[in-house]
Every structure is written in C-alpha cells, then in structure tokens.
C-alpha cells in the first residue's frame, strides 16, 4: 500500500518535470536559434557593407585578411555569377554562383541570405550577400558565409544546464514523494494492520490514531464497528450456546434441514435414537436417511401447505419405534427457509396404552366368565333344578367355586393396585429365606403331592437374612411355587436354590415344566397375560400371580427375572438387594 502510494506520487511529480521540459523545449529552442542566427547575420551584413565601400580589386587582394578578421568565408562574385575570388577555395573549381538563393535575393532586394547544409564541412552554413554597385548598375556581389555550429553548441550548453536542473528537481521530487507518501500512509498502515488482526480473529480492542484528518474519522468508525460487531458476535454466541444446550439436553430428537432439504443438524438425542440403524445421516435428505414412506408423505404435506405438520411414524421393521413427528419451518432470512423436524419417541406410551386397553378387556373378560357360569347355574336351579337335590347341590357347589374365584380375582387386583400405588405398607425386617420357605411349603405341598412332583430344597442354613416383609415374601414364594407346580407335569421336579450375585441375594425356583416360548417371556408379569389362555385358566389361575410377584419385588427394591426353554422348564430368579442386617 505504501509502495503504491509512493510510486503514484513520484510518478505524478516526474510527469510534471518531463512535461515542463518539453514545453520549455518547444518554446525556447527555436527562439534561441533565431536570436543567435539573427545576431550572426547582422554581424556579417555589417562586415559586407563595410567591405563594399572599397573597390573590387582591393577587396580581392585583402580577401584573406578580411576573412580572418570577420572569422568567416568571403566570396566575391561578378554580376553574371562567376566567382572572382574566394577566401577558402580555388576559384577554378567553383561553378557559377548566379543561381544561389542569397545572390538572387541580393539582386532583387539589395540584401540576401540563406541557410544551407554545407556538404564540404558537414554543418549548416549561413550565407549573406549584398550587391556591389557602380551607380545603379550591379557589378558583383560580396558573400560572407559562416558555419552555424556556434549556435548548435550554444543551444546544447543551455540544454545541458536545463537537463541538470530537471534532474535535481526529479531527485527533490523523489525525496518529497517518499516523505509525503510515508506520512500519508502511516495512519492507513496502522488501520490496515489493525483490520488484518481483526480478520484473523484476534480480539484487539480499538485503534487510536494521532492524526486529526479524515483517517481519524475512519479509525473512529472502525472502532465503533468493531465494538458493535463484537457485541453482536457475543450475543449470537450466547444465543447459540443456549440453543445448543437446549437441543442437546432435550430428550426429543431434533434435526434441521437446510434450504436444499438436506439434513444439516442432528441433535444428540436423535443421534442416539438412530445411530444403530441409520448411521450417519448428515447431508442426506429425509427420504435418503430414513427410507420411510410415511415420513416422506408428512414432509411433502408440509412442503405443500407450509404449516406445522404433526404425524405418527413407525420406523424400522425389526424393532419398530413409533415416533411422533412434528415438522415446522425455521424462520430465517427470506429465501433461506430451513425446516425443523422434531421426533418424540412414543413407543413406550403406545405400549402402555395397549397394556391398558388389554387390561380393561381382560378384567371384564375374567370377571364375566365366572359370572356367566354363576348366573347360568343359578338360572337352572331357579328353573326347577332346585327340586332335584343332587343336581341343585352340584350346581350350587359350582356357583360357589366360581364366586370364590371371582373373589380371589378381586382380591388379587386389590393387592396389585395397592402395591402399585404404594399404599401397601411393607414391614421390613431381617428374614431368613429358609424359614419363609418352610412356612410356605404346606400351601403347595398338597398340590405337588397329587402330581407326584418332587420339591427339592437346596437352601443352605447359613444363608444371610434378607431385608423383606415376611408376609409378602411368603406370598411371593407361594405364587412362584404355585406356578411351578401348576405347569410341571406329573413326576416332575422343582429345585429351590439361593446364591449371591453382584449386590443381590438371588433365589431361584427351577422347574422341569412345560416352559414358555421365548417371545412370550418378556410379557410375563403383565396383568392377565397368559401364555396359553385356555389351559392356564383351567388350572385355576387368575392371571395375576406373576404380576403380583413382579410388583412386590419392585416394592422390595429387587427384581424378577425369568428364563425358560420350551418343553424343558422354567427358571424364576428373585433378586433381593443385599443389606447388612445386624441380627
């Protein structure tokens, strides 16, 4: 920048210098030449006229002398142009001079001159001639000639000094240009440096200039802009970090599409949600990323109507994830419309909804079955069977049995809802599992005995006590053992073991029963869920047994796990948290 300005100033100075040189040349060169020639001419004429006073014969004798004194060449020519005498050349070799312009001019005007290039000496010659007269008759001419190299050399001398002056001026111009450019560019250079630092992202405060001209205003403006910019950037960064924190910490998945409908931002939640199945989806369109027709339909709907679209979309076919999708536009600069898509995982919600619907359907079904039986038998009795004592007795027995079952069902439901609501008060104490088993055994032994099932108790005596409610623990064990007995065919076995795993004391009840299909295992514990509906109901279950166990285990701070192999048997593991019990 400095260089540039310097050269510009220097160049303009040099142009001025050269220009003045040329103008000077144009104006004075010819003027000097003319003045000097005129002077020589006047001198020669003066000589000529002086000589003209003498007679011709005398002149030719003194020719050499005259020539020496006048410092010129002198020629005498007669009226017909013949050369009579010459101070420098032999007259025999000289041709007729009648046609020379200076002689012609002298003949006509009384005075003649001419400037011609002399081949003999190689310089411009000034010729001056006047006629010699006797009376009015022209008898001859006197011609004086002098080379003009004096004029040339004089001009050259003048030019030399002019050129020297120019050189001096040019050097002064150079120095002035240097100083000028330096002083002029100093503030500009400071500004340049400052803005360069800004450009490279250094926070460099503000710039202070010592000048008071326009650059000062410029610096002030730049300072103002820098301040403004920095506060804007800070503000933008603050907003951005707020937004990013919101995006990353929220559990909903969020993605943003750029103006070309390509994904340019995916938040962490969505990334986690999709990582396994879809990989990196940045830079793809929705269609490419999700390969989902419903999602694309919703997106096209949004594109068409430009209003927020809320839809439900199922992603994936193996483990479907149901997502509530909301597509809306992000208002940005005009013409750069971005789209935000928010994904809300409603899979669990949908599952819970299904469980709830199933539950209501199951409850009504479970209650209606015994009720139908009771009503049926009572109607039969009412219609006349009352008279037949045997039948009546049998029908009433059945009704009673169904009514009891109904009662048991309602009681189970009550227990479950109480446990779930936390209304049941557990009286925690250190309990010996062995003792509880011993007290629970009689409740299932009778049934097991009927089916000749061998219950093998492998519990060690020194097993640590567990922190539990004795009655509820009994209920848990009875329910699990009851199930085991129910689903184990005759001559089967049931094993009861205990051990420690991680921070849990684990009780396992293993049977050699019919087992449960793999895909159904995870649904056990749902209320009224039965693997094979008809058969288990025949066996007298309410469908709530395991559900109660599951909830009671949760209330105990533990959990229930079930492993099963179809046809081989089932293993129920009850995890009780370890606690140091001083007793």
């Amino acid at each position: 920048m400095k260089r540039n300005l310097f050269f510009k100033i220097l160049f303009s100075y040099l142009v001025i210098v050269c220009l003045s040189f040329f103008i000077l040349d144009l104006l004075i060169k010819d003027e000097i030449k003319k003045v000097m020639t005129d002077k020589i001419e006047a001198e020669l004429f003066a000589y000529a006229e002086l000589i003209d006073l003498n007679p011709a014969q005398k002149m030719s004798d003194q020719l050499q002398q005259i020539a020496r004194i006048s410092n010129s060449r002198v020629t005498l020519v007669d009226a017909q142009g013949r050369v009579l005498a010459d101070s420098e050349k032999d007259i025999i070799t000289m041709e007729n001079h009648f046609n020379r312009p200076e002689l012609q001019e002298a003949r006509l005007k009384g005075k003649g001159k001419s400037i011609r290039f002399s081949q003999t000496i190689g310089v411009d010659m000034l010729y001056v001639a006047i006629p010699m007269k006797s009376g009015s008759q022209i008898t001859g001419y006197v011609r004086f000639a002098r080379p003009l190299h004096d004029v040339q050399s004089a001009i050259e001398k003048i030019y030399q000094s002019i050129f020297l002056a120019m050189m001096i001026v040019a050097i002064i111009a150079l120095v002035i240009a240097l100083i000028f450019s330096y002083r002029l560019t100093a503030p500009i250079r400071a500004l340049e440096k400052f803005t360069e630092r800004l450009r490279q992202g250094e926070p460099s405060g503000s710039i202070i200039l010592k000048t008071s001209d326009e650059t000062k205003n410029l610096a002030d403006n730049i300072n103002y802009l820098v301040d403004e910019l920095q506060s804007q950037i800070r503000l933008a960064n603050e907003e951005k970090s707020k937004l990013m924190t919101a995006f990353t910490s929220m559990t909903e998945g969020v993605l943003i599409l750029n103006a070309e409908d390509k994904i340019e931002f995916v938040n962490q939640a969505l990334g986690n949600m999709l990582a396994e199945q879809y990989g990196d989806i940045n830079g793809k369109t929705l269609m490419e990323a999700f390969l989902n027709a419903d999602l694309q339909k919703s997106f096209l709907k949004f594109k068409e109507k430009h209003i927020t679209v809320v839809e439900e979309v199922t992603l994936g076919s193996f483990e479907p994830v149901i997502l509530g999708v909301s597509i809306s536009s992000v208002h940005n600069y005009p013409g750069e419309e971005k789209v935000m898509v928010v994904f809300h995982d409603v899979t669990r919600l949908k599952k819970l909804e299904k469980i709830r619907v199933d539950f209501v359907a199951n409850v009504t079904h479970e209650i209606r079955t015994p009720l139908t039986a009771i009503i049926g038998y009572l109607e039969t009795i009412n219609a006349g069977a009352i008279n037949n004592t045997d039948d009546a007795k049998r029908f009433i027995d059945i009704s009673l049995k169904q009514a009891r079952r109904l009662n048991r069902l309602v009681e189970d439901l009550l227990v479950i809802s109480k446990v779930e609501l936390g209304e049941i008060k557990l009286h925690f104490e250190g309990v010996s599992v062995r003792d509880v088993f011993v007290s629970a055994m009689p409740l299932v032994e009778a049934k097991a005995g009927l089916k000749k099932i061998n219950i093998q108790n492998n519990l060690q005596k020194n097993l640590p006590h567990i922190w539990a409610d004795r009655d509820r623990l009994t209920q848990i064990l009875v329910n699990v053992l009851d199930n085991a007995v129910k689903f184990t065919p005759e001559d089967g076995s049931i094993f009861i073991d205990a051990g420690q795993k991680d921070n849990y004391i684990v009780l396992t009840i293993t049977d050699t029963g019919i087992g449960i299909p793999k895909e159904e295992v995870q649904r056990l514990g749902e209320r009224f869920y039965r693997v094979e509906r008809s058969r288990s109901r025949d066996l007298g279950g309410t469908g709530l047994g395991l559900s109660i166990v599951k909830h009671l285990m949760i209330a105990h701070g533990g959990k229930m796990e079930i492993e099963s192999q179809l046809g081989r048997g089932t293993k129920v593991s009850l995890f009780f948290p370890m606690r140091i019990i001083n007793c």
Partner: protein, 232 residues
C-alpha cells in the same frame, strides 16, 4: 457426485427430487413385499387386497417419475454422470415397478391359498422374503450413497435367493409326489417363491445399474462373483 454442484440450483433440486422419488417408490415396493408375505403367513386376505390396490399407486408414481426424467433429458440435456444418473433412474424405476407387480402377484396367490387349508408352515419363504427385502434396501442404499460395495453385496445375495428357491421347489415336489391333492397349493407356493426369486433378480438389476452409474461401465450379463465360490 454429492460434492459437485450445478450452477443452476433448480436443476440440482430436480435431480434430487428424482432421487427422492425413486427411493420413495423403493420403500413402497419393499413395504408391499412385506405386507404380501404377511398376508400369506398370517392368512390375512384383507391385507392382500390392500397390497393389490396399493400397486396402482406404485404404477402411477413410476410413470410420473419416468416423465420427469424424460423432461429433464429434453430440457436440460444432461451430460456425463448426470446423463447416466437419469438413464439409470429410468431403468431403476422400471425394475421397481416390476417388483411392485410381483408383490401384487404374491398377494393374489395369498388370497387363493388362504381359501384352502394350510399346506405346511412357511419357513423358507419368509426367510427368502426377508432376504429379498434386504436386497431392495441395500440396492437403494447403494444408489443413495453411490456405494459400489453395497451393490456388490446385493449381487452376492441374489445367488442365495436362487438356492433358496431351488430348495423350496424340491421340498414342494416331495409334497406333490406324496399327495396329489396338494398339487394346486404347491404350485401356487412355487409361484410365490418364483416371484420372490424374480424380485431378487430385479434388485440385482438395480445394483448393476448403480454400478454403471458410478463407474460408467456396464456389469450386466456378467457372471456373478460368487459363481467362482461353488464348492469344489
């Protein structure tokens, strides 16, 4: 191709729309196959009718997409990879449309089969359908990502479906030989299997076109790599 940009962003958008449209049809056909197979295994004739009805949508989308491709050819006069992309798109949509038709065929067979007692539990057919579905998905993925490896994988999978088809054919043959009453049903199931196998062929066709699009070299009518891995 992704990184390159055309000066006309509108042109860029048109190409992207073609791509999206293709994937959309692909996803629909894949769903159609799944539903058709479900209607067969779960004996759900209503679902089968839905598949047949939905095939009309695929057909419409196919002609629509083809028209858009031709319009681009006429108006934009694409060159090099864009030209290959458009011609590939036209070919792929043809394949997808045929796949949709075959899903409808399977649904038709399902309706007929559902009217008769179940011949046998389906084991190989669902496996084959799953494989075929994956092939379509992979061929589309290779199209999206210009992924040659994925395309190669599709070609390899096609061989497996051929083997499965052969296996199903032999199994059904034993059924027919044992009991002539099962011939009708066996033939129908055989057609389902054949349809699945043809779908796999089309998926391979798509993968071939993707390879052509990316490299500019035709790999069609060449023997598959896995041919060389035949047991000695």
């Amino acid at each position: 191709m992704e990184e390159r940009k055309h000066t006309s962003s509108h042109y860029e958008m048109e190409l992207q729309e073609i791509k999206n449209g293709l994937i959309y049809i692909g996803v629909l056909t894949e769903t159609a196959i799944q539903m058709a197979m479900k209607s067969l295994t779960e004996r759900d004739s209503d679902l089968a009718h839905k598949v047949i009805k939905d095939d009309d949508e695929i057909d419409t989308l196919d002609t629509d997409l083809e028209e858009r491709c031709i319009k681009i050819l006429a108006l934009r006069q694409p060159t090099a990879i864009d030209l290959r992309f458009i011609t590939t798109a036209i070919k792929i949509t043809g394949h997808l449309e045929r796949i949709g038709d075959m899903a409808a065929n399977i649904a038709e067979k399902a309706i007929q089969l559902n009217e008769e007692p179940k011949l046998k539990p389906y084991i190989d057919l669902p496996r084959m359908a799953e494989l075929v579905g994956e092939m379509i998905k992979k061929s589309l993925d290779s199209f999206i990502g210009n992924d040659l490896n994925m395309a190669e994988e599709v070609r390899r999978m096609e061989q497996v479906t051929d083997d499965l088809n052969e296996q199903i054919f032999r199994e059904l043959l034993t059924f027919m030989m044992e009991d002539s009453k099962t011939i009708h049903r066996s033939l129908m199931i055989m057609q389902v299997s054949k349809n699945l196998e043809r779908i796999a062929d089309h998926a391979k066709g798509i993968a071939d076109m993707v390879t052509y699009m990316v490299t500019g070299e035709s790999v069609r009518h060449q023997s598959c790599v896995s041919d060389e891995k035949e047991p000695a």
